[in-house]
Symmetry: C2
């Protein structure tokens, strides 16, 4: 039953001649609208809107009536219309290179969870797809008018930066640092990682270094500073093997096999990811090389399996989830109307030595 209906007692015509019969619209989509719910509940559309978005502004009784009408009609709000009218979409976009890399996934998961908890929906864009560069992807994403956006890395085209600023929404760049972020930033220094790993291995006594490196932008930064640091010790890398993305254990094995086939006998191999390191280690073991006695293997990111499968695998620990968590916190603060300006967070990293095998 709708509320004890005090139905409008015959309201008088507003115009002499109705402009044109506005009965059934020509373009109706068939789905239930706010208006339908309002009619059934005996209230105006805006009241239904309020019941949905600002229940505190509506009488409990009205609320209940509306609730029933919604249930009865199976009404599903149209966020296209809502977003268009209010300029708030409750959408947050995030761009990551690929789903194939567990590193980014571990960041996205908490990001998604926190945003979902706050009533936002995450729209994921994958920039690693060969035919779509980040710029096009970004354009496509911005056309959905997200309330905020998260980017991986700090290298974006001028045009992209332009668009992002024009969009006037909070932006968080993550997984790297830069002195000139677009807006907010949460990451760590890949340059420092490269240097730290070189220092670590050198002081452990290793001297014959090799690299297995994927085609990732940040991996190359780590490699560069690693090589620079070696240069500082008067050393150079024995060999560098490039492997294609997405990185797999298989690629790691093949990389190590190639290294050995080429006659290299490194005593330390630095890989651009734990997955590659995993493969390198498997290949080494299958050839009877002891790790880390004969060859040390260094990974990156400290993924789950690393510690549990090959206790001999050392790696660079990165709190990937923290990146997502911090990013979400920054965005939610901004979206919550806080006056906060850009935030910059260096989450750091840590070298983990595992040689308990």
């Amino acid at each position: 039953m709708a509320r004890s209906a005090s139905s409008p007692p015959g309201r008088k015509a507003l115009r002499e001649t109705p402009p044109s019969e506005p009965r059934t619209s020509t373009r109706s989509t068939g789905s239930v609208t706010l208006g339908d719910v309002a009619k059934l509940a005996g209230v105006s559309p805006i009241t239904v809107s309020r019941a949905l978005n600002h229940p505190e502004l509506v009488t409990p009784e009205t609320l209940e009536t509306v609730r029933q009408a919604i249930a009865e009609t199976g009404y599903v709000p149209n966020l296209l219309a809502g977003g268009l009218a209010s300029s708030r979409t409750k959408l947050v976009a995030a761009i990551i290179p690929t789903l194939g890399n567990a590193m980014f996934i571990d960041t996205i998961q908490p990001l998604n969870d926190l945003l979902t908890g706050a009533g936002y929906q995450l729209l994921l864009g994958l920039s690693g797809f060969p035919t779509t560069d980040e710029q096009e992807l970004l354009k496509g994403i911005l056309s959905r008018r997200p309330d905020a956006i998260v980017l991986t890395g700090v290298n974006h085209s001028d045009e992209s930066r332009q668009r992002l600023k024009a969009a006037k929404i909070p932006v968080v760049e993550m997984w790297d640092l830069t002195p000139a972020p677009i807006d907010s930033l949460v990451g760590f220094s890949h340059e420092k990682v490269g240097k730290a790993v070189a220092d670590f291995l050198f002081h452990k006594g290793y001297r014959r270094f090799a690299l297995v490196c994927a085609g990732d932008e940040r991996a190359r930064i780590r490699r560069r500073s690693f090589l620079e640091a070696l240069g500082g010790f008067g050393l150079e890398s024995l060999a560098t093997v490039d492997v294609p993305t997405p990185t797999t254990v298989r690629m790691g094995r093949e990389g190590m096999a190639r290294l050995l086939a080429d006659g290299h006998r490194p005593d330390a191999v630095f890989c651009s990811s734990d997955v590659l390191a995993h493969g390198v280690l498997a290949e080494a073991q299958s050839r009877g090389l002891r790790v880390p006695e004969d060859v040390a293997v260094m990974g990156f990111a400290d993924l789950d399996f690393a510690a549990y499968t090959f206790p001999a695998l050392s790696t660079v620990h990165v709190d990937r989830a923290a990146i997502g968590t911090r990013a979400a916190e920054i965005l939610l603060a901004r979206l919550g109307g806080k006056p906060a300006g850009p935030t910059m967070v260096d989450i750091g990293f840590e070298i983990i030595e595992r040689a308990s095998a």
Copy 2:
């Protein structure tokens, strides 16, 4: 230069009293609109719209003028408005349990790639998040009016099925089979997998079975039919260990450790995923058990690392990418206006024996 503008020569007033000066709108959002581009190009808004969406209906010269105006203004289309007006959003939603499981990722990647290639954007929903059940998630997703939707699994609440049907969009359920799909379907029979694995191991001569199983719905189906099949051989499982999701190598190790600690000495362990199997195998090896001589380990899904790290790990091969590819093909056919009805695809599976260690 805008084209030689034949500007309307003073059109006469349509009404005596203009209802209210419609100059600057009260609610302008500040961003460049179709109208702005149109003004700059000296054409009407609809022409800009056509230049963007149906370039073939527009003169090359007009097209060029419009293109320039778009570039000059930095116009980014508003797909909320476009979608609202046209009832087509170029959005396809997909619901998967979690990003933490490589199985689903491998399906989503080709799905995303194909859809992107066809001009659609993928909206990913994660149903495994504890506080959001699939039904609520689905409601949230439908409010963005996707043009089609992909679901994982075939168990959905009545209300969800209802909504899905009411939405009148193509639906693909994936990763499982059912005689009564909502619409289209692409998957394989988990029941058959369970039975096939039991048959396989039994005929290999194994008799002391154990299970390590995650809290996945489909994993439980496989377990049930596995146990049933064992029953048919007059056997029963030694022990079943349940591990929490998300499944990790660590969980696998702990599962195996628990099994052994409880005094079980299985000669074959069937795991609900390769990741778990990976951990089980690592734990077995670290205790000096030979695989598969002392204990056979059976995984599920045939993930990359399985073959390359532990050549002794047998598994059930599932063409996860094919699921995504087929799903995308089905959707694109439907969205392309083909008259096609529901499609059902059984992509099958294959038991892979790897014992070359």
